[in-house]
Symmetry: C2
C-alpha cells in the first residue's frame, strides 16, 4: 500500500464535514489509507489573516446558500448550527487523544462529532457533549473527558498544528496526496483523479 494521504479539517468547517464523508472511500478505491488531522482554523487565520466565512461581507451570505445546497446535493443530513462558527479545541483534542488509542475508532468519533454539530445542532464546544459521543464510540467516557485538559494531548495537538502550518495548510478541508495540495470539498474529484492517474 502506498503512503497514506493527509486530510486536514476543522470541526467548525461545513466543507470539512462534507469531505469527511467521502475521503476514505475515495482513498480506498485506490488502495490508500487516510490520516485525519483535526486543526484549529482560528490559529491558522492568525498566520494567514483569514477570517471565518460568516464574517466575510457577501461571501458569508453566499455561504448560507451554498452550504445547505451542497449538503442536499450530497444527500447529507445538515442543519445550520445555532452557534457558528465555534471554537473546536474540545473536539480536536479528544480526537487526537482517541487517535492514540485506536485510529479507526477515532475516525468514527470524528465523524460522530461532525454529525452532532452539523446534522443535530449539538454544541460540540461542550466537553460533556464530546464525552457522550466518545462513549458511544466505545471510548472510556471519563478518560475522554479528562483528555480535553490533558497537557500531553494539548501539546500533541499543538505539534500537529505546527506541522500543518509548516505545510501551508490554510483552510478546511485541505488534502495532501504525495506532496500535492488540494483545498476544498470541491476538489475531492481532483483528489480522486490524481490518485487514479498519479497526477496530470
Amino acid at each position: 500500500m502506498s503512503a497514506p494521504i493527509d486530510f486536514y479539517f476543522d470541526f467548525s468547517s461545513p466543507y470539512g464535514y462534507f469531505a469527511s464523508t467521502r475521503i476514505d472511500s475515495i482513498a480506498a478505491k485506490h488502495g490508500r489509507d487516510v490520516n485525519w488531522h483535526p486543526i484549529l482554523l482560528g490559529a491558522v487565520f492568525k498566520v494567514t489573516g483569514g477570517a471565518p466565512l460568516p464574517s466575510l461581507p457577501l461571501k458569508g451570505d453566499y455561504a448560507k446558500f451554498d452550504i445547505p445546497r451542497c449538503a442536499r446535493l450530497l444527500g447529507l443530513p445538515f442543519r445550520f448550527p445555532t452557534k457558528f462558527p465555534i471554537a473546536t479545541q474540545a473536539a480536536a483534542r479528544m480526537t487526537v487523544w482517541a487517535q492514540s488509542l485506536n485510529r479507526a475508532r477515532a475516525k468514527t468519533l470524528a465523524s460522530a462529532l461532525y454529525r452532532a454539530y452539523f446534522a443535530d445542532d449539538r454544541d460540540i464546544t461542550s466537553p460533556e457533549v464530546c464525552a457522550d459521543l466518545a462513549a458511544a464510540c466505545d471510548f472510556d467516557r471519563a478518560r475522554a473527558l479528562a483528555s480535553i485538559n490533558d497537557p500531553a494531548v494539548k501539546d500533541k495537538l499543538k505539534t500537529e498544528m505546527d506541522v500543518a502550518l509548516a505545510r501551508d495548510v490554510f483552510g478546511s478541508p485541505y488534502i495532501v496526496v504525495d506532496g500535492e495540495p488540494f483545498w476544498g470539498a470541491d476538489r475531492l474529484d481532483h483528489v480522486d483523479h490524481w490518485l487514479a492517474t498519479g497526477g496530470w
Copy 2:
C-alpha cells in the same frame, strides 16, 4: 426559451476563463441562453474588503498549483501571465461596446481576450492589443479602440457594475440561474444540475 442565465466574470480571473469555456454549452443543453457580464473585481473588492488571490498569504501560493492544474484537467491552453492580476477596464469596456453591436460576436471577442491573456500571455491592459483582437472578431478596429475612452461605454460598464453589486456579485465567475447564485468554476456542475432539475 426560459430566461437567460447571468454569467459575471473579470478578465483577470483564471477561474472566470475556465468557466467561460463551458458556460454556454451547459446552458444550451437545457435550452438556455447566457448573458455575459464583464465586471471589475477591483471595484467589487472595495465594497467587500476582498483582495486579489496572489496577495493572499498561503492561498495565493496554493492558487499557483491549483490554477494550472485545473487548466490541464480541463484540457485548456494556459500559461501563467507575466503580469497578474491586471486592471481589466480596457477589455471590459470593449466587450460592453461589442455587446451593443452583436451579442454573439461579443462573446467570441470576450473568449479571444481571455485566451490572449491566459493562453498566450498577451497584455490585454493594452488598448491596441484589445483592438487587434476585436478586429480579428470582425469588429471595426478604429471604433473598437475608441470605445475604450467613450464616456457612454464607460457609463454603461459603471451601470452594469452597480447592478452586479446590488445583486451581491462578489467574485468571478459568479452565475445566477433564476435568482439562485453560484460562485466559482467548481460550481458549474451544480449549475448544470440546477438547470436540469429546477433546483434541489
